[in-house]
Structure formats: structure tokens, C-alpha cells
């Protein structure tokens, strides 16, 4: 009798354990780069709503700093534990696609409507006729300036780099002892932002960073060397002397507190910083406007960088299918608009239907900073906006963008130049390093 009771108890315990095991929730890990507390809260609200519909799934979000994302993703991949879905740069998506790490997102595209995805961002991670990443939102870099001072001084919008430097010099201010109290321009000295700026400046100067046929770096080309000359001039005239040590947020602090008159690498979220940190009577688009970015001596048209991280889903993650289900839910208009409204000028909708949705348009900030939003649409609609390090869309076929972005070769090239090395020599040094890296990675085709 005793023996049978023991066996029964053991069976009951095993049954309970296996039941608990079987009904264990699936934990979907999502990494993103929208660290704004309001965005994190809105995203969590979407997660909560999703979990009510799918009680078998738990979604865990992690908001990471933009500059850290690639290194953290790589570490997670190396450890064999990638998140189920994550934001990434377009070059990151391209590299991961080339390495066969991504799950395609055709089902998500179908769910939200293939034609409903905004043409301007469709190619962020679109390979061999399939979506491998759909951007969570879109934004371009902006040239932000102090409109009030600009008007007072009777300046004209600069069209070329030379004119830009003259305008920046005119916007500078000095005290009676000759000390600069307001610099003409503020730029971030962080590696990622130097990469972004070099790509963008090369584009406005009519150049390429890589040969489209062979992928060989073209850092020693006239157009890139002119970019370095431009950096040298900016550094010597209108930038704060310690700009190489400034972070992205420092540049906004400089603008909002009147320490700098212009930002070349501003973004829509800056409107929020200005509203928070600038004097109240100045926190509007009458004081902080946006200008079309000037072209270089060898360029013909303007350009800007797209910041529109595609969602990537990792094939080898634990729950890729569940992550896809969540993303379909995320892109439902009623959820998506909540997310976009947390940073309205920075998170422009990926879906065309949302752009025209009255609920989306009924936002105070959108109305207040419409000039900023319009400038971004201008870059998108004219095809002048491209992702980081991408001059033309076919650059995304190059499988080594991620490694070049992370290596620091381009920021070092700029640092060498602004620290006194002749531009051609700095470019030559970077060219040799980039060629060596691409060769070592096994992608040499020249």
C-alpha cells in the first residue's frame, strides 16, 4: 500500500512539473534604440496589450543606446543568444542578411500591406525581393540653426560649404575680451556620428565611399579628400575647440543654451530638447529653424542621412515567429500612433496610411514644429536621404558595412585630418586600413 502511494505521489509531482514546463510562457526579447522614457512607456503599453491577446507570450523590451547597439548585438550573436527582434542600422541589416542570420518579414509586410510601406524607407533592408527588416519609423538628419539671429544679421541660406562657413562665422559671438561666447556650429565627435557625417558630406560632394562594382574603398578620391578639408576648416573656424570630445546630447545642449548657433547633425528629437532646455519664450520654430544642407565643391545637390532602423528578426533566436506576431501587432495603426506620438518630430511613420491618419496628425508638436517635419519629407521625397555610410542604395549590397562602421577607421581619418595631418595623407592611411580590413574579412574583389 505504502509503495503504491509513493508511486502515485511521484507520478503526480512529475505530472505537475511537466504541465508547468509545457505551459511555461515564451519570453520574446526585443531590443530597440528608443530610450526616451515616454517611448519606452508607450512601447510597454503596446506589449501589455499584446500579452492580453497572447497570454502564452511575454515580451521583454530593452532600450539600448544607439551607439552601443551593434557591439551588443554582435556580442549576443557570438554568445549564441541573440534577441528575438532588434533595431539595427541599414548596414547592420545588410551584413546580417549576407551572413544568413535574418528571418524574412514578408508575412509582416503582407499584414501591414506591402504597398502601405513608405517608398522612401522600403529599401532599408530589402534583399532579393524580400523584406528582411521593416523600419520602426523614419527620420533624417537636419541642419538646425538659430533663425532669430540669422534674421537679425540679414544672412542668406548657404548653398555651398564656403557659404556655410561664412554664415557660421557670422553667427558667432565674442565678448569684449574677444572670447567666443557662441560658436557658429556644434558637431558630435563620437565615432558613430563622424561615420554618419562623412557619408552624408561625401554624398553632398558628389562622391562615393566604395566603388560600386568592386567595393574597394574610395577614401582617397577627390570628393572624400575635400570632405576632410571641409572638416579642417570647420574645426579651425567655427567649432568649439573641444568638439571631438562632445557627445550627441552635448551638441543639443550647446544649441539650446545658446553656446552654438547651428547643428549640422540635428534630428527631430531635438525639438523636444529645445522645448525642455531653451528659455520658454525661445522654444519654438521661430527661434530654431531648419535649413537645406549645403553642397560641397564637387557636388550638385543636397543630401541627408536617414535614421530609420529596420526591425530585424533573428532566425536562430528562441522565438522568431512570436517576435513576428508581436511586430504585426506593433504596426497596427492604433498601437503604432501611440508609439510615434512619444517623439512626434523624430518618429515619422513608416506606413503611408498613418501619415494621413487624422489621429496621427492631431498632435500639438507636429503642428508646432511642422517646418522641421516638412524638411525631412523633402529629403525623403526627393530621394536625397540615405542611411549611414550609404551613398546610393546599391552600397547596401556590400557585406562589410558593419565592420567598416564599427572599426573607427573613418572617425580616425577625420581625427587625423583635423589634428593637422594633410587630408590626402589621412585619407591614404584610412584607405590602406579599410582595404586591409576588407581583405582580412575575405570580401576583397578588386
Amino acid at each position: 500500500m505504502k509503495r503504491w502511494t509513493s508511486i502515485l505521489c511521484l507520478g503526480l509531482v512529475l505530472g505537475l512539473i511537466s504541465f508547468a514546463w509545457g505551459t511555461e510562457k515564451k519570453v520574446v526579447r526585443i531590443w530597440h534604440t528608443e530610450t526616451e522614457p515616454a517611448t519606452v512607456a508607450a512601447f510597454q503599453q503596446i506589449i501589455n496589450d499584446f500579452e492580453k491577446l497572447r497570454p502564452d507570450i511575454t515580451v521583454k523590451q530593452e532600450a539600448l543606446a544607439w551607439g552601443d547597439l551593434e557591439a551588443k548585438l554582435t556580442a549576443a550573436l557570438a554568445a549564441g543568444a541573440p534577441p528575438d527582434a532588434s533595431h539595427g542600422q541599414a548596414v547592420t541589416c545588410a551584413s546580417f542578411y549576407a551572413k544568413g542570420l535574418l528571418r524574412d518579414q514578408e508575412d509582416i509586410a503582407m499584414a501591414i500591406g506591402r504597398d502601405n510601406i513608405w517608398e522612401a524607407v522600403r529599401r532599408q533592408c530589402f534583399h532579393d525581393g524580400k523584406y528582411y527588416g521593416i523600419p520602426h519609423s523614419a527620420v533624417t538628419s537636419l541642419l538646425i540653426y538659430r533663425k532669430d539671429i540669422f534674421k537679425t544679421k540679414g544672412l542668406k541660406p548657404p548653398e555651398t560649404w564656403d557659404e556655410f562657413i561664412k554664415v557660421a562665422e557670422a553667427l558667432m559671438e565674442r565678448d569684449k575680451d574677444g572670447r567666443v561666447t557662441r560658436y557658429g556650429l556644434s558637431l558630435p565627435g563620437v565615432g558613430l556620428f563622424i561615420n554618419i557625417a562623412v557619408g552624408e558630406l561625401t554624398k553632398v560632394n558628389g562622391g562615393r565611399l566604395f566603388d560600386p562594382k568592386t567595393g574597394r574603398p574610395t577614401f582617397t578620391s577627390k570628393e572624400v579628400v575635400e570632405v576632410l578639408d571641409f572638416y579642417k576648416k570647420l574645426s579651425a573656424t567655427v567649432l568649439p575647440p573641444g568638439w571631438l570630445g562632445h557627445g550627441y546630447l552635448d551638441t543639443f545642449a550647446n544649441l539650446a543654451t545658446g553656446k552654438a548657433a547651428m547643428l549640422y547633425q540635428g534630428y527631430g528629437r531635438g525639438a523636444g530638447y529645445i522645448e525642455r532646455y531653451a528659455p520658454k519664450e525661445m522654444a519654438n520654430s521661430d527661434h530654431f529653424g531648419v535649413l537645406v544642407k549645403p553642397r560641397g565643391p564637387s557636388g550638385k545637390e543636397t543630401a541627408a542621412q536617414i535614421d530609420a532602423e529596420p526591425w530585424m528578426i533573428f532566425k536562430n533566436a528562441k522565438y522568431p515567429e512570436e517576435a513576428a506576431e508581436f511586430l504585426k501587432f506593433f504596426f497596427k495603426e492604433e498601437n503604432y500612433i501611440k508609439y510615434l506620438h512619444t517623439v512626434p518630430i523624430h518618429l515619422l511613420p513608416t506606413l503611408k496610411s498613418v501619415r494621413n491618419n487624422p489621429t496621427y496628425q492631431a498632435n500639438e508638436m507636429v503642428r508646432k514644429w511642422k517646418e522641421w517635419q516638412d524638411m525631412q519629407y523633402r529629403y525623403f521625397d526627393t530621394g536625397q536621404a540615405k542611411p549611414t555610410l550609404i551613398i546610393e542604395w546599391d552600397d547596401l549590397k556590400l557585406p562589410f558595412g558593419l565592420e567598416i562602421l564599427g572599426s573607427g577607421i573613418i572617425p580616425d581619418m577625420v581625427t587625423d585630418a583635423v589634428r593637422g595631418m594633410p587630408s590626402a595623407q589621412a585619407a591614404g592611411r584610412a584607405q590602406a586600413r579599410a582595404e586591409e580590413l576588407i581583405t582580412k574579412l575575405g570580401h576583397k574583389r578588386w
Partner: protein
């Protein structure tokens, strides 16, 4: 004449060395030789039991310490992408590459500059502060607690705090220096020219409490009678420090300098967070930062591992030299 006994046949003072007759004092070489052979079995069994009992700890050490080191060495012989599974054996090619790589030499030099200055000033400041806090004065308890604060706060908080203080456009350090007339124009603490100075200052501030704590603990164990006797003999404060304090703390100083040297030479978080490896951060791209970048931003795991192995080698060689130079202190420490 005293009989010479082969040490191998020395009697062991235990029941096992008893002769069949029970005479413990018997020292016959022939008997001991026989006895030794006869008792080999049980001895081996004891040894085996000993090995078995320590084997879990040994396995743990092997798994957690030696395996990663051995794997790093193996990885350094490969050309391997950080997350892509393909790899190729290249022998010493990574080391040869680094030998010719100017970035490596620059990183090594920057690492030596950073660790050298920070260790020197941590020790000087730590010892000085420990001497002060060893004296009796009002509020000593509070002062001891406050002085430990930098060592207790997380590195990320310390770095954000210092970056904010040292910012050249809105930082309070420049504001005060200009207000009291020490500088006329804002000093670019975080710019390319001075970021090394800033990270050294920050590291001294953050880590000197460790030296202080260690030295203070030793100072509190020195007998006050030694100082009283020296005072009676007319020794000055400096003389007391040289002839009493320094000899007493040299053992702990030896250990502290060794540990801080290892920790500062391999310091990653503070340096990385201050500069992030690019822009002005390039000028504090020390060897650990460069190893990190090669592994996780260039995605060259083999080269990253080679850099880690080189760092390990440098530390081993330096530690051996250090032990040889300060053999006496090592014994005390």
C-alpha cells in the same frame, strides 16, 4: 660519530613505523627499507583519497581559469570573425600583424601612460590620506566614510558625473577656474589634447580609496609604542615615517601596487566610457580598449584574442620581475 641515514628511510613518527617487536626506536636501515616498501599501498590510497577530495576544486579552477586562458591562446592562432562560425588556423600570423601594427604600439604606450600615472598618484594620495585618517581628530569617522565614496559608486555614474563636470561649454570646473582667474578661456578637458589627463584624474579619484583602505588597515596595527619611543629619542615626523611607518607598511604596499598595476593596466570600463574609442576617445585607446574594438567593432576575434594574450604575457613578465626586485617585501606581503 653520528650515523648518516638516507633521508628516504627516515622513520616516520607514527604507528606505521613500529617494528614487529613494537620497538619505536629501532633505526635499522634494512628494516626501514623493507617497511617503506610494505607500506606503499596504503600511502598511495591516502594520496588518491586526497586527490579525490581536492579534485572538484581543481576542476573548477581548470574550468573557470585555465580553460578561458587556453581558449584565448587557441583563438589568437585563428583568423575568426566574432560571430560568424567560419575560422582559419593562421599560426602566429595575428601576432606578426600586431607587431607591425602602429595602432597596437600606440595603444600599448597609451596604456602604460595611463596605468603608470594613475598608479603613482593613487599610491601617493592613498598613503597620504591614510596617514591623515590614522590620526585622531574630530569628525574622523565621517571623513573615513566620505573618502570611500568614489570607490563605491558605479563606474558609469562616476564617468557621467565627470563628463558633466569637465564639459568645456557648460561644465562647472571650467566655470570656477575662470571665475577665480586661473584660466582665461575654457579648457578642453575632454578634447583630444587633454582627455588623457582627464581620465587619469578621474581614475585617481575613483581608485585611491582602495590604497587608502589597505594602508589604513595596516597602520592601525602598528604599535603606538614604537612612535612614542621614537618621539622620546627626538625623531621628527618625517623621520618617524621613514624609519617606522614605511618599513611597517612595505609589505601591504607591495601587494597594493601589484594589484592596482594589474587592474589599471587592464582597466576597460572607465576608459571606454570616457571616450568610446573614437573622436577624442582615440587618444585614450589603451590596450584593453583596442582589444575590445578588434573583437567587437572590427569583429576580428582572433586579433582581439592575440591582444588579450599579449596583455596577459606583459602582466606575467612584469609581475615576475616585480617579485624578483622586491623579494623581501613579497615575503612580508
Amino acid at each position: 660519530m653520528k650515523r648518516q641515514v638516507n633521508p628516504e628511510f627516515q622513520p616516520v613518527p607514527s604507528s606505521r613505523t613500529k617494528t614487529p617487536s613494537g620497538n619505536m626506536a629501532e633505526e635499522s636501515g634494512a628494516y626501514l627499507w623493507k617497511s617503506s616498501i610494505a607500506k606503499t599501498g596504503p600511502k598511495r590510497r591516502d594520496q588518491l583519497a586526497g586527490y579525490l577530495t581536492i579534485s572538484p576544486a581543481l576542476l573548477l579552477i581548470l574550468a573557470l581559469t585555465l580553460y578561458p586562458v587556453a581558449y584565448s591562446i587557441w583563438l589568437s592562432l585563428l583568423e575568426k570573425h566574432s560571430f560568424f562560425p567560419q575560422e582559419r588556423f593562421v599560426g602566429l600570423e595575428n601576432y606578426i600583424y600586431l607587431w607591425k601594427d602602429p595602432e597596437f604600439w600606440t595603444s600599448l604606450w597609451l596604456g602604460i601612460v595611463y596605468s603608470g600615472w594613475t598608479i603613482l598618484f593613487q599610491v601617493v594620495l592613498g598613503v597620504a590620506a591614510a596617514l591623515i585618517l590614522n590620526e585622531t581628530f574630530w569628525g574622523r569617522g565621517l571623513a573615513r566614510a566620505i573618502v570611500l565614496f568614489p570607490y563605491m559608486i558605479p563606474t558609469i555614474v562616476a564617468v557621467i558625473l565627470w563628463k558633466w563636470l569637465l564639459n568645456d561649454t557648460y561644465g562647472i570646473v571650467n566655470y570656477w577656474l575662470m571665475a577665480i582667474g586661473i584660466i582665461m578661456d575654457p579648457f578642453c578637458w575632454l578634447g583630444a589634447d587633454h582627455i588623457m589627463l582627464s581620465v587619469i584624474l578621474m581614475s585617481i579619484w575613483q581608485f585611491f580609496p582602495f590604497v587608502l583602505l589597505s594602508i589604513l588597515a595596516r597602520l592601525q596595527t602598528i604599535s603606538p609604542e614604537l612612535y612614542e619611543a621614537a618621539k622620546v629619542d627626538g625623531a621628527s615626523a618625517f623621520s618617524r615615517f621613514i624609519h617606522i611607518t614605511l618599513p611597517q607598511i612595505r609589505g601591504i604596499l607591495f601587494v597594493v601596487i601589484l594589484l592596482r598595476s594589474i587592474w589599471m593596466f587592464t582597466k576597460f570600463d572607465t576608459v571606454w566610457l570616457m571616450g568610446e574609442g573614437a573622436g577624442a576617445g582615440r587618444f585614450i585607446r589603451t590596450l584593453p580598449v583596442y582589444a575590445y574594438m578588434r573583437t567587437l567593432t572590427y569583429y576580428q576575434a582572433g586579433l582581439g584574442a592575440a591582444l588579450a594574450v599579449i596583455m596577459f604575457g606583459i602582466l606575467v613578465v612584469t609581475t615576475v620581475i616585480y617579485f624578483r626586485l622586491f623579494r623581501e617585501e613579497a615575503d612580508i606581503g
